[in-house]
Symmetry: D2
Amino acid sequence: MHHTSTAAIDTHQVQRLQCQRQWRGFLHALGQEFAAALSAQDLATLMARIGVRFAAQHPLNPSENVTELQQAMNAVWDALDWGQVELAQAPAGMEIQHRFSPLVAALGETEGSWATGFLQGVYQQWFDAAGAAGLRVQTISALDALGNAHLRLVTA
Amino acid sequence: MHHTSTAAIDTHQVQRLQCQRQWRGFLHALGQEFAAALSAQDLATLMARIGVRFAAQHPLNPSENVTELQQAMNAVWDALDWGQVELAQAPAGMEIQHRFSPLVAALGETEGSWATGFLQGVYQQWFDAAGAAGLRVQTISALDALGNAHLRLVTA
Amino acid sequence: MHHTSTAAIDTHQVQRLQCQRQWRGFLHALGQEFAAALSAQDLATLMARIGVRFAAQHPLNPSENVTELQQAMNAVWDALDWGQVELAQAPAGMEIQHRFSPLVAALGETEGSWATGFLQGVYQQWFDAAGAAGLRVQTISALDALGNAHLRLVTA
Amino acid sequence: MHHTSTAAIDTHQVQRLQCQRQWRGFLHALGQEFAAALSAQDLATLMARIGVRFAAQHPLNPSENVTELQQAMNAVWDALDWGQVELAQAPAGMEIQHRFSPLVAALGETEGSWATGFLQGVYQQWFDAAGAAGLRVQTISALDALGNAHLRLVTA
């Protein structure tokens, strides 16, 4: 539909656009308070529980295959300006590449490690609801400055 | 500048506009997870700590009197679409009427009681920074469905 | 799903929420420039052409009946925070009640008469694409301060 | 306050973030209708008139020097997520580098040439109001895919 071109852009400028203004200050303060009060492990667990609730309240359209499942997930993310996901079958399991989530722009760059827990919870719940019983979503690399994270669906 | 007219509007329609779409689902799930995990008192305290951080990161322009102080506060709120505040000296203390905050639209209508803690923390920090040492912000009536709350600055 | 409650709200406060901040100033200046340069009739025609383009770029999901058609239209409006529509068969033709469009909040209260042309063009194109050949969308009452308008699909 | 890092990002992904969803479809259709109906020269003139109105409705805070003038301009742009400007005195005149305006993301990539007229009108009006009588803002390079443009204030 359109040519692809890339440009070198200051990541902080992109972060300002990624997290809309209304909740930027609130979420940044929340992120700092959380980081001061709880361990990274407890925070990741808390975020995963929030993610499970989010996914249960944003059920996916039915899908017949991985392509349709990816489309159903991106219909949710796109409507919220939460970036997008790419799913790929691989020997190690289903690769889940989420790009451009606003979580790091909102909670702060140093909070990416535990903030990834939210995505982990969301995808776990979505795969559970899609019938992937007994499989577990694990984090391969945590959210970076642009909100990109790599997760994987593996045998539990 | 313009005439004032009011209209009877479905509060849920207003709530949809109050909390922008990007963080609506995330904050709603967060509100439910918090409500399930912590007591209303603990949540109010947590929200107040987040509010103190927020206020410290959004310092007010200098003000000479209550009118200017109110303007300085509203400059912060307005830039974020967080409603507005009215300050009024009264025998019982300084009345703080905050109207149209997006907190209830975001966290859920049943979370208004503890969500008010955020505003309590914000105003406490702003009054402390303005030199109101020894005074304490207390909640008179918690956030209602439209995000209105009534607080008061009293002798501690 | 939820109880309906209404509240009396300052329409200007609602307008501020209806039209998001980023384009408020641009669209307000554009509305004034248009009103200064063109007649209301020419503006309504221009807006209708813009509406036709918009509708062609936002095709509806297939629908079997009026209820599904209304759902398909609201799926577009809802994703953009453009209010919602109610369709109803009546002796005079199909009634089209659009509520809560951000057009007046953006372009200015005095521009509601010609701004309605945009909705007229959108619905014309959507009904044409749905197979309503030979039928014409006409404006019954133009956009009011809250972005409500009444249109009707009639025999041309 | 923070380190500067850059990343290579798909320009279309940035454009999606630059122009908020609510007006994306409307403005895109408006841009296409304009381009079909008017010459690029007429459109640039129209956009400049809209820009003059916008600037008159967004007056700058007083400034004593170029640095403060740039700050006053960026206070307006920043509040609207309209990118930012850099001013620099040079032998040829005052250089005006505007980065990251949402105009191209909204109106379409092929509309950058005439859309620049809006910025030309805004800066003309702001410099006029700042007392730069007899000076004229001209476009050096039109808006690119990321909303960057180069203008210059020269002797008329």
